[in-house]
């Protein structure tokens, strides 16, 4: 097009000309966007093409079949059945479960620490408030990896080895004869049943029917006791007199689970020193504890700041009004301030939960066998499937993050300000 540059005129029905794509403000933005989109797609196409060519040049193909071949390596912490003869896919699943467990534990710890520290930082007691400031600033400003390594070093160097518990002049002892803190991990009693109902075969996992039975009964009891409380509330609002139901709820909550446990022959299995190490009991490995403390306390410092921001966002008048009604400070915080602060706290809290979940991938630093260590580490290394492994890893972390942010956003919608 060798046209001269056309200037936009005031004529409403000017015929469309190609040069208007660049010169007319109505079309220019579309032109630029489409051009950029095409460049982006070209870029992506080039990346994919380049990858395929380079793989071909290295003589490698693109296949996920390695997931079905024998893994051959061991994973120390496994929530589901796993041995070295199982597949890389199974190993990845074991790693994924380890990631999820660590993430859930750390989120819980970080939330508790964060809420407590956030509230305490606003405390009227200057010593408490200052100490909280020190905690927040120290943990927030030092990289997470260092904290994990510090807790890892404490757990492996500052606590006794199992053979310190041995012999006549043992230098270490078990706490209450039930808990042993060693440099291999913390051993606590485990629940055991004399009658085993067997396992439920779900194909990939086989959960114990005993555990399921206990869980079902406990949930049922909680639901029944809530019905009782709701009934009491209704009676109170109608008559003004609250019926005495505490003994009913206690019975409902306690009796059926205890009866079930008795029927199944519940007892505790205590850890005891046999051979090189403690046997029996439930082992919380050092790596898990180091990661848990590191992630929980580090992220707790960030959550504390979120909580503080949330509380400060609530006008002081709310506190004064609550005090004027005769509410004590604790109840004011719990019933008036925090519920309102939640709508400020929850959105950044979602980010912190996502951070925790992604940061579990630092596990290899202390030998925690999470997804990054199994699928993203050993499997990739043994099979040479870097591209496939990394894609899979990214996909799984992405899904995990989307699930967390989706459910937390749903929660946020529930606690958010409801305008009517």
């Amino acid at each position: 097009m060798a046209n001269a540059i056309t200037f936009p005129t005031l004529e409403p029905h000017q015929a469309f000309r190609l040069s208007m794509l660049l010169n007319d403000g109505r079309y220019r933005s579309y032109t630029i966007q489409i051009f950029v989109l095409m460049c982006l797609m070209l870029g992506i196409a080039w990346l994919v093409d380049n990858t395929i060519r380079n793989l071909a040049l290295l003589g490698k193909d693109f296949s996920f079949s390695f997931l079905w071949s024998t893994a051959g390596y061991d994973i120390n912490q496994r929530l589901i059945e796993y041995d070295t003869q199982m597949t890389h896919g199974r190993a990845a699943l074991v790693g994924l479960l380890n990631t999820v467990v660590l993430a859930v534990l750390s989120c819980a710890l970080a939330t508790i620490i964060g809420v407590v520290a956030g509230v305490l930082r606003l405390s009227g007691n200057p010593i408490v408030a200052r100490l909280t400031v020190v905690y927040v600033e120290v943990f927030r400003n030092i990289p997470l990896l260092l904290w994990i390594l510090v807790f890892g070093a404490i757990m492996s160097e500052a606590v006794p080895a199992p053979n310190a518990f041995k012999g006549e002049n043992a230098t270490a002892g078990m706490i209450l004869g039930a808990v042993a803190i060693t440099n291999r991990g913390v051993f606590i009693p485990e629940p055991l049943f004399t009658r085993d109902l067997g396992t439920l075969n779900l194909g990939i996992v086989e959960p114990s029917l005993n555990a399921i039975a206990v869980l079902v009964v406990v949930i049922a009891c909680v639901l029944i006791s809530r019905v009782l409380v709701r009934h009491a509330n209704r009676v109170q609002s109608q008559t003004g007199v609250r019926p005495v139901i505490w003994w009913k709820t206690m019975t409902v909550l306690a009796a059926p689970p205890l009866l079930l446990l008795w029927a199944l022959g519940f007892h505790l299995g205590y850890p005891e020193l046999r051979g090189f190490n403690f046997q029996g009991g439930f082992q919380l490995r050092n790596a898990l504890i180091a990661m848990w403390l590191g992630l929980g306390i580090y992220t707790g410092a960030f959550i504390a700041e979120n909580v503080r921001a949330g509380i400060l966002a609530i006008s002081k008048g709310q506190t004064e009004a609550a005090h004027a009604l005769g509410l004590r400070p604790g109840k004011t915080m719990r019933l008036v301030i925090l519920p309102q602060a939640l709508r400020v706290i929850v959105p950044p809290l979602i980010s912190q939960y996502l951070n925790i979940t992604k940061n579990t991938s630092l596990g290899l630093a202390v030998g925690y066998m999470d997804l990054r260590s199994t699928l993203g580490g050993i499997t990739i290394n043994q099979t040479g499937r870097e591209l496939e492994g990394m894609l899979l890893l990214m996909l799984i972390y992405l899904s995990l993050s989307l699930i967390i942010s989706g459910s937390m956003n749903a929660y946020n919608a529930r606690v958010g300000l409801k305008e009517r």
Binding site: N76, N277, G367, G384
Partner: protein, 338 residues
Amino acid sequence: MKKSLFLVTLGAVALLSATAIAGTLDEVKSRGKLNCGVSSGTAGFSAPDAKGVWQGFDVAFCRAVAAAVLGDPMKVEFVPTTGQTRFTALASGEIDVLSRATTWTFSRDTDLKLTFAGTNFYDGQVFLVKKELGVSSAKDLNGATVCIQSGTTTELNLAEYFRINKMTYEPVPVDSSAEGERQYQAGACDVYTSDGSNLASVRASFPNPSDHVLLPEIISKEPLGPIVRQGDEQWADIVHWTESALFAAEELGVTKANVDQLADGSDNPEINRLLGKEGDLGKMLGLDAEWARRAIAAGGNYGEIFATNLGDQTPIRLERGLNALWTKGGLMYAQPFR
């Protein structure tokens, strides 16, 4: 608007950077230095000394290749790799050669598309334990906690050994030899397992090495050697024959001290061919005539490299054993230079 400009530039750069892949030899020559993957800090094999200069058995090999190709043994960039990053570093072109006590296995050779340039160290996996534990055989290790470098063949051998012998163990995966050493010393594991040479190196760095014993069982064969990417035959030949030249030099009595004198000519035709006086072996490799002479001058012949880094005069005190020349009952055997 700024963002879209950025994207356009990014796309353009990506398109322009699609260059053809040249041979590794040309790449190394034009770069002017050899990128060599080593382990990060294993005394005797590869560790920087007090002045920050890398020293060790694996390092000496990188220097020999650099001397042969570039004429200067110091023109090496050492890239520390872990058990988990080494193959990716090689496959992605970050390093030209991997000299990191890596075991030659079937699947690495075929499925991982690596080419092993030859074995320069015959090793086997053993167990290191504290003497006070009172264990005299690997068969007594049932229930032990074992520190193991993650992503190695050692890890697979360990799992297999305990399974075959119907024993259980608790693995503590570690990322590097140094981390394994720390955990073992802190008592977080009863046993540290790795290649015998690696454990000898680890034990030598302990304050009192005699408190620790290597158990007699050798549970695997670990032929270690330098590795290159599959598909570049010329580069693989250069690395292989540089290694062979070091073996041959020991066999023929060529040392760091006499290599210059012998290069002027000797009455042994094989020495003459090796050092570039006769024939044109260097040209066949794509190098000049004196490639082997420089490789030998860099750190001496194989025996000298072994002696300076791992032998009796070093704290590691490894015996030659299988790593002696074939003429002395070992397995080291150079293909003929003709």
